[in-house]
């Protein structure tokens, strides 16, 4: 449902928000990101407890996760594989030797007293994500955002402050969930580029099944580094949505520009977002010394020099390639629909199956596939206001319906009605299409001569025309689209059994007749 809404309204929403931050050309903003991305593994990074976010507190923890003495970490190879996929997808150089380090600080949700991360020898370095004017709507033709490094590390637990009873609760379910931290170079020139980048990154990790990509439950969390006119760098920690990033950047840019205008300098510090303003968390002087040192309980990760090509062979076309593929023949989707499919793997899979049935097996035109999946089937969920669940009508069934429409065995209107009926009555989903057509009496009228149908339709149309003189008048004055209203009424009256072009022709005849009479 949410997905469908997004598809139908996306462009409008983004345009409404884009204007927000106006950069003053005299104050150049430099900005880089650190993106913490939870990996979609079955188990945690160094233990066998499950990696799930939706469980009761402290139910997915092992002895290691809560830091019991005498436990020893063991690297989960699935997490390593996903981090390598991400590295290859971002065109990084994979280190043939990398290792883990300990980053020390005390916090109740940090059960070891340190986080296991990769400070000295990260898994990958020096990659890029390229933003494109045609696909991402940026002003330049291409914009390269360099990736400085990718490191594999543990997530921490969660601390929940209850101000009502003054108790601190700690949930260690998240502790030791695998993360990759992706660090970009400060290559962003505008807020728009950052938003486009984040969206693109989200699509990439989702598409490759590296991460759920959901910012709302913390699977992706972002730190932003921002400086103005080459001044000191300020880090804003832990932003959990694009709107938070926007608020943080707007408020921080304005704050820094304000300081510079007053002739003051910007202090190097770490800030957080409270409401829509950034607030100081700690200054440079209070900065923690993390006392990094190699974690000798974890062996070095040594990789075959051919690992990059091996991994590349396991991953499908990357999202940009896939969007370009879908938006050209034989798929010929609109660009925004191609992007939508790539952002929603499940729908893309469905689309490919439907395409195979309708185009490859039945030799129908691709426009039927594109129109029926995107507008009719997905649109129907929206219309009925029910949660999207593609299993209601399997691709085979929808393929049948679409083929029948293409062969004019049933009218478009009947088919639409059929889809709505199946969605509103789940018991229909098991029944064969022929039976359903029978059940709802949706078949094209058969065994009646076309003259008889023609006469009946002519009668129906003139009745409707008489009942709606104002509509007719409008059309005559040039509002040609109003004819759709009349066609709709006629379709309803005939229960969609009559081809709409036939109805339209009759109305056109009536309208032209009026016109002629009038002149």
């Amino acid at each position: 449902m949410g997905v469908v809404r997004r598809l139908l309204h996306t462009t409008r929403v983004i345009r409404a928000r884009v204007k927000g931050l106006e950069l003053d050309p005299a104050y150049q903003m430099t900005c880089g990101l650190e993106i913490h991305t939870q990996l979609k593994t079955r188990h945690k990074l160094f233990s066998l407890s499950q990696n799930r976010f939706d469980s009761t507190p402290n139910s997915n923890i092992s002895y290691f996760d809560c830091g019991l003495p005498g436990t020893i970490p063991k690297l989960n190879p699935e997490a390593l594989l996903l981090s390598l996929k991400a590295a290859v997808a971002m065109n990084c150089e994979i280190a043939t030797m990398s290792s883990f380090d300990r980053k020390h600080y005390f916090y109740p949700d940090q059960p070891l007293g340190y986080q296991i991360t990769q400070q000295f020898r990260p898994i990958a370095k020096e990659g890029e994500i390229v933003l494109r004017r045609d696909l991402d709507g940026i002003s330049e033709e291409y914009k390269r955002i360099r990736i400085k490094q990718i490191q594999l590390e543990q997530d921490t637990g969660k601390t929940l402050y209850d101000s009502f009873d003054g108790v601190i609760r700690i949930d260690l379910n998240r502790a030791n969930i695998p993360l990759i931290e992706v660090v970009t170079e400060p290559d962003f020139g505008s807020l728009h580029e950052i938003k486009v980048f984040v969206k693109k990154y989200q699509t990439l990790v989702r598409y490759l099944n590296i991460c759920s990509g959901d910012m709302e439950n913390g699977a992706i969390r972002i730190d932003v580094n921002i400086s103005v006119n080459g001044g000191n760098r300020v880090e804003i920690k832990n932003l959990g949505s694009t709107s938070e990033i926007q608020a943080a950047l707007e408020s921080e840019y304005e704050r820094q520009v304000g300081l510079l205008k007053e002739g003051e300098s910007v202090e190097q510090e770490t800030r957080g977002l409270r409401g829509d303003k950034t607030v100081r968390l700690r200054s440079k002087e209070d900065a923690l010394d993390y006392r990094y040192f190699p974690d000798s309980e974890l062996p070095l990760i040594r990789l075959d020099p051919g690992i990059t090509s091996q991994i590349r062979n396991t991953i499908p076309d990357l999202p940009d390639d896939m969007i370009l593929k879908l938006s050209s023949a034989p798929y010929s989707l609109e660009l925004r629909h191609a992007k939508f499919l790539v952002q929603n793997q499940e729908i893309l899979d469905y689309y490919m199956k439907l395409f195979d049935i309708v185009v490859n097996q039945h030799g129908k035109e691709v426009k039927y596939v594109n129109n029926w999946l995107i507008h009719e089937y997905l649109g129907a969920f929206n219309k009925l206001n029910i949660l999207m669940d593609l299993t209601f009508i399997p691709p085979e069934t929808l393929g049948n319906i679409v083929t029948l429409v293409a062969e004019k065995e049933i009218s478009t209107a009947s088919a639409k009605q059929l889809v709505l009926n199946i969605l509103s009555d789940p018991s229909d989903s098991g029944v064969s299409i022929t039976e359903l057509i029978e059940k709802y009496d949706l078949g094209q009228i058969k065994g009646v001569s076309s003259d008889e149908i023609d006469n009946a339709v002519a009668e129906l149309c003139s009745c409707i025309a008489e009942e709606n003189p104002d509509v007719i008048k409008k059309i005559r004055k040039g509002k040609k689209k109003a004819i759709k209203h009349l066609i709709g009424l006629a379709m309803k009256e005939s229960q969609g059994k009559v081809d709409s072009t036939l109805i339209e022709n009759h109305f056109l005849a009536i309208i032209n007749d009026h016109k002629n009479n009038g002149e």
Partner: protein
């Protein structure tokens, strides 16, 4: 999860009750922290297993689910481990019976076994005076010496099994790093921590070692099967006559007492009589070992002990309010002993960004030391196969185990007040084998046909990485000739 409230005093008193329940003989030396009730009935006939009929105590930094696992620290005085260390499981599988958890220097930090939350261990080798048992596995050594158990498990980080064994007159064996599982062994400095065996009889040491010398997939530092099978091709001890014994010149340090010099000299003499080739060797990195060792252990300890914040388990100071950092800081300050706090501070300084890269430099010393040992020994280090062994190399190296004899408790306290570094110097003979991860054993030295010496004398024998069997066979032969 709420921040746990302070555990009641009753729980801590529970330990005292435990300790009161101990047999008077064990209690006399304060060797045990808690007793483990035997699961075996005396009538049970279980004689088919290799260690049937034996009993053992385990140092209290080795996790066991019954009772407490305290590390002799107030910080873990109420801690019950939900799981069992692999090494204890292996011994139980082999038919031995755990009867107690032994006293130690808090978290293994010390070489006297005075720095324990449960009090100092008294050396059973001295009849009428209170002398230190050595540490940090002092409780294990005292239990074996006083015959409370057949053998004991200790841990050796820089000599913690060998030194107390030497001071109490028993055998103390530190195997090659990685041969015995560390799963369930609470780390002090994990790149050095090695489970060791203390016993009165070398045959027992060998049998126990056989039972615990196994790969453990739960411990990533456990040596894999492939390398273990390579070791089976190592030369066996054929005849003492054909062995070459190395004497590292660098062990002849100023602090070495005349007493220890004499023991060393006597041993070499005996070996010469047996037909061994005695060879002086040079291992220059030994001189840098002590400072490298203290750099590494304090850094690793500071890191490993960060988890004891009293939040999830362990000692929790009060119900007094405060920020989370106040609570953590209060818990730690009030539950770690002086020596532990000293090493944590030292370690945190070592790791701090402004102090430089001491840890990495110390690691370089370790690498160089291994390289030098490879040039001295006759066989290859399996983990550094690019160094080729020399055909005229040594089979074992020999030195005394300690520089000076065990002091009295009073002397210890006076010395410690004067300069706590005094206690660090005694480790100079034992740390090189730890840094290199090679096997080493301390054996009581007693001349034939002489009455039992008043002060236990001991020598240390060191072998190449993986040559544990050779070392034990050599030791057995040597002990038969004493």
């Amino acid at each position: 999860m709420r921040l746990p409230r302070t555990h009641s005093i009753a729980q801590i008193e529970g330990i005292t009750v435990f300790r009161r329940g101990l047999s008077t003989r064990a209690d006399e030396f304060n060797s045990l922290i808690s007793e483990v009730k035997s699961k075996k009935h005396l009538s049970e006939k279980d004689s088919v297993k290799p260690l049937s009929g034996t009993s053992f105590v385990a140092k209290d930094n080795i996790a066991f689910p019954q009772g407490y696992t305290t590390c002799a620290s107030k910080a873990l005085s109420n801690y019950r481990s939900p799981f069992k260390a692999t090494v204890i499981q292996s011994l139980e599988d082999a038919g031995s019976d755990l009867i107690g958890k032994a006293n130690l220097d808090e978290f293994g930090m010390g070489s006297s076994n005075v720095e324990s939350y449960f009090g100092a261990v008294i050396n059973p080798a001295f009849a009428n005076e209170k002398r230190i048992a050595g540490g940090s596995s002092g409780g294990s050594a005292a239990a074996v010496r006083s015959e409370a158990s057949t053998f004991a498990l200790g841990t050796d980080t820089g000599g913690s099994v060998r030194l107390p064994a030497a001071y109490t007159g028993v055998i103390g064996f530190k195997p090659t790093y990685g041969r015995v599982s560390r799963w369930g062994v609470i780390p002090y400095a994990q790149t050095l921590d090695t489970v060791g065996i203390l016993a009165r009889d070398i045959g027992v040491v060998k049998q126990v070692f056989n039972a615990i010398d196994q790969h453990d997939e739960k411990d990533v530092t456990s040596i894999p099967e492939e390398i273990r099978s390579d070791w089976s091709g190592l030369p066996k001890l054929a005849d003492m006559k054909n062995t070459t014994v190395g004497v590292p010149e660098e062990f002849l340090v100023e602090e070495l007492s005349g007493y220890s010099r004499q023991v060393w000299y006597d041993t070499l003499n005996s070996l010469r009589k047996l037909g061994c080739t005695i060879k002086q060797v040079n291992i220059p990195q030994i001189e840098k070992s002590l400072s490298a060792y203290y750099t590494i252990v304090s850094a690793e300890a500071a890191s490993n002990l960060s988890r004891y914040d009293g939040v999830r388990y362990g000692f929790n100071s009060t119900d007094k309010p405060g920020t989370v950092h106040d609570i953590i800081s209060r818990n730690r300050s009030s539950s770690f002993g002086q020596e532990v706090q000293r090493r944590i501070i030292l370690g945190n300084y070592t790791l701090s960004s402004e102090s430089g890269d001491h840890y990495l430099k110390a690691t370089e010393v370790r690498k160089m030391l291994v390289k030098e040992l490879n040039q001295v020994f006759s066989t290859q280090h399996m983990l550094f196969s690019d160094d080729k062994p020399s055909s005229s190399g040594c089979d074992v190296l020999i030195s005394p185990t300690y520089t000076s004899i065990p002091c009295t408790l009073d002397e210890y306290h006076n010395m410690n007040e004067e300069n706590f570094l005094n206690n660090y110097i005694n480790d100079i003979l034992t740390v090189p084998a730890s840094l290199a991860g090679v096997p080493a054993i301390s054996v009581p030295y007693q001349k034939q046909n002489t009455p039992e010496a008043k002060i236990p004398e001991a020598i240390q024998i060191i072998a190449q990485h993986g040559n544990d069997e050779f070392l034990l066979d050599f030791t057995k032969e040597l002990m038969m000739r004493f």
